[in-house]
């Protein structure tokens, strides 16, 4: 896991709380739920790019 993976993981961890907070206070229309969903989206993209970067470097190491 690199720095992007670390930050993305942190975002996803906070998203758990924000989604719970949003669910308890107004559902989908609440700010907490919307920010939580945004965190899930950004965090997932970050984690995917981390996996892709690791796969790329593993392939490069195999080819070398």
């Amino acid at each position: 896991m690199n720095g992007i993976g670390l930050m993305s993981g942190m975002m996803l961890a906070i998203a758990i709380y924000l989604v719970s907070l949003g669910y308890a206070n107004g559902g989908l229309s609440s700010t907490a739920m919307q920010v939580g969903i945004a965190f899930i989206a950004i965090g997932s993209v970050g984690l995917l790019s981390d996996f892709a970067s690791r796969r790329n470097s593993a392939k490069k190491r195999l080819c070398a």
């Binding site: 690199n2 720095g3 670390l6 930050m7 996803l12 961890a13 758990i16 709380y17 470097s57």
Partner: protein
């Protein structure tokens, strides 16, 4: 609800301090002073040459430490924000546990220390970029909780 600037500042204070420290290259300075303090038993090897080149052997560890501080500051800021909602303590603990797992996974991964090899252009700025991201994450979390 009347929200004051102090309410925001209290919640984003840990990442703000971490960002300022990373911009001052705090980790690197501390590591450098540590190595210079023990000239004879230096882990960097070839002390004089390393000193001339400003200790490149320390840079990757200093960057990794800066990024880890960013993550720790997010966790601290999160608990300042979350501790006021007593009814959601189990969700806060679940998030805290997930943060701990993410941080441990990063620390034990080799990729975390090899940013200089994988992304040589980004590596010198990775520390403060991570801290800036931490500040943005904390600010967004505070906004979501306070509104």
């Amino acid at each position: 609800m009347d929200i004051t600037y102090e309410a925001y500042l209290a919640r984003i204070f840990p990442p703000l301090v971490s960002l300022i420290l990373s911009m001052l290259r705090f980790n690197f300075s501390v590591m450098k002073v540590g190595v210079q303090a023990d000239e004879k038993d230096s882990v960097c090897g070839d002390f004089d040459r390393q000193k001339e080149k400003k200790f490149p052997c320390l840079k990757r560890n200093a960057t990794a430490l800066s990024m880890l501080y960013a993550a720790i500051s997010i966790a601290m800021s999160f608990f300042v924000t979350a501790i006021l909602h007593k009814e959601l303590m189990s969700a806060a603990l679940l998030s805290g546990g997930a943060m701990l797992i993410v941080m441990i996974a990063a620390v034990v991964s080799d990729d975390f220390y090899l940013i200089g090899v994988r992304h040589p252009k980004l590596a010198p700025h990775a520390g403060w970029i991570a801290n800036l991201a931490a500040l943005a994450i904390s600010a967004a979390t505070s906004y979501a909780v306070l509104h």
